[in-house]
Amino acid sequence: MNHPSGPRDARHAKIALDVDGEHRTLEVDTRTTLLDALREHLGVTAPKKGCDHGQCGSCTVLLDGRRATTCLTFAVAHDGARITTARGLADGDELHAMQQAFVEQDGLQCGYCTPGQVCSAVGMLDEFWAQHPSNVTEDLTAPPELTDDEIRERMSGNLCRCGAYTNILAAIRQAAEA
């Protein structure tokens, strides 16, 4: 028998999440994706639901510092996780360098994919600076170079149906070189 304060049955779980610096607790059905937990249970609507099948990247957040598509993972599997959404990248009213670069380079049109793009770009640069190779890295023995092709490949999990890719590329380059 469960503890009175525990989840009501094995199909539910009580979890705690650190979301953009705030400690949040909630009870979820085990089927609840992390995206639905954020949006529908906690009211954190920065990550967007585009395809809900991991193909568009609009639900991307930084999950314990690494980019992840929140529609393809169960909230129950992330008890205790630290989540940074596009909202949490900013420091109050001061935008993160990547957000500022998207504004300055006009890296969006409708903006629906933008929170995912920005989170993905921040996580992508961390991977790049940690010298992770990508599918287009030719020399796996040398540190990769941040070519346009490298940025495009590393951001290929984030689709923009408006087609703002040219300016997204410019924004990421600006943030990377800042």
């Binding site: 199909r11 779980a13 059905d29 085990t30 099948h53 993972t73 169960f74 599997a77």
Partner: protein
């Protein structure tokens, strides 16, 4: 998606034991294929166990409600 029980293993042996003991059990791992297939009803596992062997070994399982214990 069918309801499932979720179990978190604390080590690799425990994760393997849970999955081998139940033909409906699955390793969840990153989940990016299995979760999508579960949404579509293609996969209907009784259990799903994300078995991540990285810095800390951690695993998880789900079991279909009503399946044999």
């Amino acid at each position: 998606m069918i309801p499932f029980d979720y179990e978190r293993a604390t080590d690799v042996d425990g994760a393997v034991a849970t999955v081998t003991a139940d033909p409906d059990a699955r390793f969840l791992a990153g989940g990016t294929n299995l979760v999508d297939h579960m949404k579509l009803g293609v996969a209907q596992p009784g259990r799903t166990r994300p078995l991540r062997v990285s810095d800390a070994v951690e695993g998880t399982a789900v079991r279909r409600v009503g399946s044999a214990p």
